[in-house]
C-alpha cells in the first residue's frame, strides 16, 4: 500500500480587518499594532452631545486648532498597543525592582553623603507633584483627543507618570528609612517654598488649557523635554559624582523612559508640522511660549540644585530641546 501525503494550503479569505485593509491595501496582513490602532475610535452616529460640553460631539476634531486630514497619520515608532506596551513596561519594572532591592540589600544609600540625600528630598521628591500633574494632563488629552493613534499613547503615558511618581516616592522613603518626613516636607515645599512656586504655577496653568494639542505640546514636549534632561540626566549625574551612584541606578527608569518617549513626540511633531503651514506656525508658537515660561520657572530650582551655574544648565537643555524640535520642522 502506498501513502500519498500531500499538503493542502488553505488561504484565509481575509488577511486583516477591513478598516486596516483600507489603509495598508488588500492581500497584506496587518501588524498587531495596526490592527489595534487604525480607526478604532468611533467617528459617526453619536446620538447625544456630552452634557458637560454640548458644543462638541463625544469625539470631535474641532476641539483643537490643529487640523489634520487623517488623524491616523501619527505613527508611534515604538508601536505601542496594549500588548507591547505592557510587555515593555513589565520588563523595565523588573529591572527597576532589582535595582531597588540591590540598593536596599547592600545599603548603598547608607554610604551616600548627607548632601546627596538632602538633594533627593529637596529636588527630586517634589517632582512627584509634577508627575501627578502630567498624569492629569495626559488623561485630559486621552479624554478630549481625537483618534486612537494619539489617545492610546497618552493613556499609556499617563499611567507611566504614576509609575514615575511612585519611584520618586520610594526613593525618598529609602533615603528616610521609611519615614514619611521627606515626602511631607516635599509637599510643603511644593506648596510654599519660593523656588517651586513658578513651576507649580505653570503646572496649574497647563491644567486649564482647553486645546488638547496645546496641552500635549506644553506637557509632553516642552515640560518633559526640559525637566527630564535637567534633573535625571544632569542633576543625577552631578549627584553621582558627589557619591550618590545609587541615585543614578534608581532614576535610570526615568532616563530611559524619556529617551524612548522622545521618539514618539518627535514623530508626532514632524507629522503635524508637515501637514500644513498653519499647523507648523501654531506648534512653533506654542513651543516658543511654553519653553520660555518653563525655563523661567526652572531657573530658581536649578540655581539651588546645582553646585555650578544652574541657570546655565537650564539654557543648555532649552537649546537642546529647540534644536531637536527644529529638526522636526518647527520654526523655533
Amino acid at each position: 500500500m502506498s501513502l500519498d501525503i500531500s499538503t493542502k494550503a488553505i488561504k484565509p479569505v481575509r488577511l486583516t480587518y477591513d478598516q486596516v485593509a483600507r489603509r495598508i491595501g488588500e492581500n497584506k496582513a496587518g501588524s498587531r499594532y495596526q490592527e489595534a490602532t487604525y480607526d478604532i475610535q468611533p467617528t459617526t452616529n453619536f446620538h447625544y452631545r456630552p452634557l458637560w460640553d454640548p458644543r462638541y460631539e463625544v469625539f470631535d476634531t474641532s476641539r483643537t486648532a490643529i487640523v489634520m486630514q487623517d488623524w491616523y497619520a501619527f505613527h508611534d515608532p515604538r508601536q505601542y498597543y496594549y500588548g507591547t506596551y505592557t510587555m515593555a513596561r513589565a520588563k523595565q519594572q523588573e529591572v527597576a525592582e532589582k535595582n531597588f532591592s540591590f540598593v536596599e540589600k547592600r545599603g548603598l544609600l547608607d554610604t551616600a553623603p548627607h548632601i546627596v540625600k538632602q538633594k533627593v528630598r529637596d529636588f527630586l521628591t517634589p517632582l512627584r507633584h509634577v508627575e501627578w500633574g502630567a498624569n492629569m494632563n495626559n488623561c485630559f488629552i486621552t479624554d478630549t483627543g481625537y483618534g486612537t493613534a494619539i489617545t492610546q499613547v497618552t493613556m499609556f503615558n499617563s499611567i507611566d507618570r504614576l509609575g514615575i511618581a511612585q519611584y520618586l516616592t520610594r526613593l525618598c522613603l529609602l533615603v528616610d528609612e521609611n519615614e514619611t518626613t521627606g515626602i511631607d516636607k516635599a509637599k510643603e515645599d511644593w506648596l510654599s517654598r519660593d523656588i517651586w512656586q513658578e513651576l507649580r504655577h505653570v503646572v496649574e496653568d497647563i491644567f486649564v488649557i482647553e486645546d488638547w494639542f496645546e496641552t500635549m505640546v506644553a506637557q509632553n514636549i516642552v515640560m518633559d523635554g526640559l525637566i527630564y534632561p535637567l534633573i535625571y540626566d544632569r542633576l543625577a549625574g552631578e549627584m553621582m559624582h558627589e557619591g550618590g551612584s545609587a541615585i543614578v541606578m534608581l532614576t535610570e527608569f526615568m532616563n530611559e523612559w524619556q529617551q524612548e518617549t522622545v521618539r514618539w513626540t518627535n514623530a508626532l511633531v514632524k507629522v503635524t508640522a508637515q501637514e500644513s503651514d498653519a499647523n507648523k506656525d501654531l506648534l512653533s508658537q506654542w513651543v516658543a511660549h511654553w519653553s520660555d515660561r518653563i525655563t523661567e520657572a526652572l531657573k530658581p530650582i536649578s540655581a539651588e540644585a546645582f553646585s555650578g551655574d544652574g541657570e546655565l544648565f537650564v539654557q543648555e537643555v532649552k537649546q537642546d530641546l529647540l534644536e531637536r524640535l527644529s529638526k522636526q520642522g518647527l520654526k523655533v
Partner: protein, 92 residues
C-alpha cells in the same frame, strides 16, 4: 555562468513578517514564495538581513539572533555581524 541562488526559509508567522518585509526592502532581487506554513526567500548571489531595517519595522531594537527563533533552513555561506547577517556563496 548563472549566479547561484541563496535562500532563507522562515516560519510563516507574525514575527517573521517584518523580517520578510525588511529583506524585500533591502534585497532588490529577492523572490518571496509562500509555501504552507513557511516562507521561502530566494535571491541570486547574496541576501542580507539588516538589523536596522527590522528594528525600524517592529519599533524596537531587534537582535540578529532572534532570527533563529523562526529560522527553518538556509543555504549559502554565512557572514554574521551585530548589525547584519549575510548569505552568499564564497567566491573561490
Amino acid at each position: 555562468m548563472m549566479t547561484d541562488n541563496v535562500f532563507l526559509i522562515l516560519q510563516d508567522n507574525e514575527d517573521a513578517r517584518p523580517i520578510v518585509e525588511a529583506i524585500e526592502q533591502d534585497n532588490q532581487n529577492a523572490k518571496v514564495e509562500y509555501i504552507p506554513g513557511l516562507i521561502r526567500i530566494e535571491s541570486p548571489g547574496s541576501l542580507t538581513v539588516h538589523r536596522d531595517s527590522v528594528s525600524e519595522l517592529i519599533g524596537r531594537d531587534w537582535d540578529i539572533q532572534e532570527l533563529h527563533l523562526n529560522l527553518v533552513s538556509l543555504s549559502g555561506n554565512i557572514d554574521e555581524d551585530d548589525d547584519y547577517i549575510k548569505l552568499a556563496w564564497a567566491t573561490k
